[in-house]
Symmetry: C2
């Protein structure tokens, strides 16, 4: 029997202790999405609804996706799709994933489909993986700011706690950019965690980074893997935005390394939600060479299975290289670039600097001068003001950022929604007196000289 208790658990109403904890908690991005779902902006049906520039979704490729997903090959149905199957994913789907990741991750040798585990979303993968590699109460290192959902994904079932590696906008000595991760910072966080008596079992990296949009240089990635190996840590690399790279920046997937210091403790996560603009499909996947992890994940996969027809559709999609190379990827990249330009130009018009970055569906924007004081209370006050004005953008607090005043804004929405979002932002900030900041802007801004300005409504 798993998880025998050794403290006295009491019931809270009709829920268990953990049930009460689960029920009462919620993370900021979750609250934002919930607000939006209850009152979503629609040009005709709900023009006063919430404009959502807070939830990281790609909504600019629906037309080309619909064209592909409604072709006759997608309507095929065979008995196996309606029947129980391998909980870790149908074999033909795992084979196609292995081929796809071999190619797009630039793996030196073919990936093994037996090392692929499919689940209903990357959140399920992180939840299950953290359960099988960590004990309740264990910690994981994570550079902050980071996607705040991770906290819930590693806590609700698994009971883990994050140990932050704080990054700041100020470029430190010997560093070359804002929010730069270094192994020295990892070391410092590791020591701090130890001093607090936390057993640290894993390091989680999101690459391309969310919310920063930065890409980890290959050399830094290698150093992080070496660091993990030194401390016997599992290194989990979430590359869910790996194909949402624009501006011709090169991206190095961990899959491309000829060898890694500790293959048994190196785990790669990807899913089509962001890169294929289909978060509603609920598919995530793990690639790991650790047989024990595979076995344990295969069992937890019972609870996180993908429907047969969805696995089939994605098999068709991933294998259609002609469509991917000639239609989807070029169109998606161009649209991401255009939307990004529109947002950063618009923000510039409002005097809002944006961190230099080259991937993701978002920008990391510096609204510090609009805070009444440089505190998280003031950040939340600004956030509440914006949401009351029917604009949802995600505050830095949602990413456990250590500096108040940063916000993540999504640009992968239709241009009219983006323009409306900017309009609302302009209006709402106008009512907010700008503060004179004592702090100096230290961030590396996007080089605007290279951006052709786009009109703002």
């Amino acid at each position: 029997m798993l998880g025998s208790p050794c403290v006295i658990f009491r019931m809270s109403g009709s829920l268990s202790i953990r049930g009460s904890e689960i029920a009462k908690g919620s993370f900021l991005l979750e609250q934002g999405l919930k607000m939006y779902i209850q009152d979503p902006y629609h040009k005709d049906l709900n023009p006063q609804g919430i404009v959502n520039l807070g939830t990281s979704e790609n909504k600019i490729c629906f037309d080309i996706l619909r064209e592909r997903l409604t072709r006759p090959d997608m309507h095929y149905l065979e008995p196996g799709m309606l029947a129980y199957n391998d909980p870790r994913g149908i074999k033909s789907f795992r084979e196609e994933i292995a081929r796809f990741l071999t190619d797009y991750g630039h793996a030196p040798t073919s990936l093994n489909p037996e090392h692929v585990i499919v689940m209903s979303g990357c959140c399920a993968i992180i939840c299950a993986l953290s359960t099988v590699i960590c004990n309740p109460g264990d910690g994981f290192l994570i550079p902050t700011p980071y996607y705040g959902g991770i906290n819930a994904y590693t806590a609700l079932y698994s009971g883990l706690q994050p140990v932050h590696v704080p990054l700041y906008s100020k470029v430190g000595e010997g560093e070359s950019y804002s929010f730069q991760l270094t192994t020295q910072k990892l070391e410092a966080a590791m020591q701090k965690g130890k001093e607090q008596g936390i057993q640290i079992r894993a390091l989680i990296l999101i690459n391309p980074q969310n919310p920063l949009g930065q890409i980890y240089p290959a050399q830094l990635l290698k150093e992080c893997l070496e660091f993990g190996h030194r401390y016997n840590l599992h290194v989990i690399i979430d590359e869910i935005y790996m194909l949402s790279v624009f501006n011709n920046t090169s991206f190095t997937s961990v899959l491309s390394f000829h060898d890694v210091p500790d293959p048994e403790r190196t785990h790669f996560i990807w899913g089509p939600g962001k890169d294929f603009a289909m978060s509603g499909f609920r598919v995530g996947m793990l690639y790991t060479r650790n047989e024990q992890v595979c076995s344990a994940m295969s069992r937890l996969a019972f609870f996180h299975q993908c429907p047969g027809p969805i696995q089939y559709m994605l098999t068709q999609l991933l294998s259609d290289r002609d469509w991917l190379e000639n239609v989807f990827f070029p169109t998606n990249k161009q649209r991401l670039k255009d939307s990004w330009k529109m947002l950063v130009t618009g923000l510039r018009g409002l005097g809002i600097p944006v961190l230099k970055h080259s991937a993701g569906l978002y920008v990391w924007a510096d609204l510090r001068k609009f805070l009444k004081s440089q505190t998280f209370e003031a950040e939340m006050e600004l956030w509440r003001k914006l949401t009351a004005g029917k604009l949802y953008i995600a505050p830095g607090k949602a990413f456990d950022c250590y500096e108040p005043g940063w916000f993540r804004l999504i640009f992968s929405v239709s241009s009219d929604v983006l323009q409306l979002g900017l309009q609302r932002l302009r209006k709402l900030l106008k009512e907010t007196p700008e503060q004179t900041l004592e702090i100096q802007y230290q961030i590396q801004e996007t080089n605007f000289s290279k951006i052709k300005p786009l009109p703002i409504m």
Copy 2:
């Protein structure tokens, strides 16, 4: 932080303690399905493969389902289906589920869509529900034999333990049928659990029963709810076979009661996997009037979401009452009846009695006389012999049955597979000398006089 440890956890290889437990365990039905997936019988492609009469799936309605699921209305795609949505299920889907369950569960008043939670399969529902209402180490009462997957679903993430209510084939004093559940037996198990220091939080009932195929009389169901109320237990009623009732037997869903003793602790589970012959769709749902449970389940739903297109397809299916009433249900019922007759007639030809029952996709067959001794070792020996002979049927051990020698056989497969299964069973049992049993057959057998024999190959 949830689940803080207070014992020293050690790592086992690269897995956590719980990860190792998860990796090494497996339940018998899981092993059976795994064997089958690796070597499935196919008339042309793999005629020597395993015939699967062990996994409870309805495979006799694929033709009518395919016709419905490939109609043009199913190919519709809208942006919302590819986007994040309410984790507990898209509103329109929950509304349709509420209407459907109101009608087919004969609810006295309309069910509230806000009390519906959708997840990727009933196993996910049971896993999440047991987490939010029970603490690790807590126990739940369950009459045995019962579907063995429940043990894994309540243990892997949640850490619960079953407290059995043993039922036997011998009809006890004052009882009227084999394996009869009574509140006296519930009381006895409750006391035994208490004596063992187990904190019992819930009672789980599967109705129609799996593997027995029996239907709980309305009066017994009410008594069970009263019993649960008396002990402050959550009563979880899994009605996943509620529409797979044949032989004109009437079935009482808990949804049909005007009031229940403790609505806050009464939870109903259903999914289309069995009744709509689509286990591969991975959809399960909870109906509960407990707002706290709803809140907690909504959060865990992150990890168990159904894809937008699947929710849409099922909305179409559940709302097409014309097709349900005039095509699907009558065809399915007739085919279930025909297949059932074929199996029980075939078993009778082999001298194998079958428990009287009226629902489900299976029969509960008495193979006691084919055991070398009346032990579970002998039962497993027979099981291994059958599987070596490429016939998979599920042994009583898989259902924590207290009497060795019972097996569950599925009849909802194509007639050629069913006939081949019977052929293989005949051949394999022929090599097994029958034992003279000291025990008397006490079971209520199916009344064969009413069954028109069907030819056996």
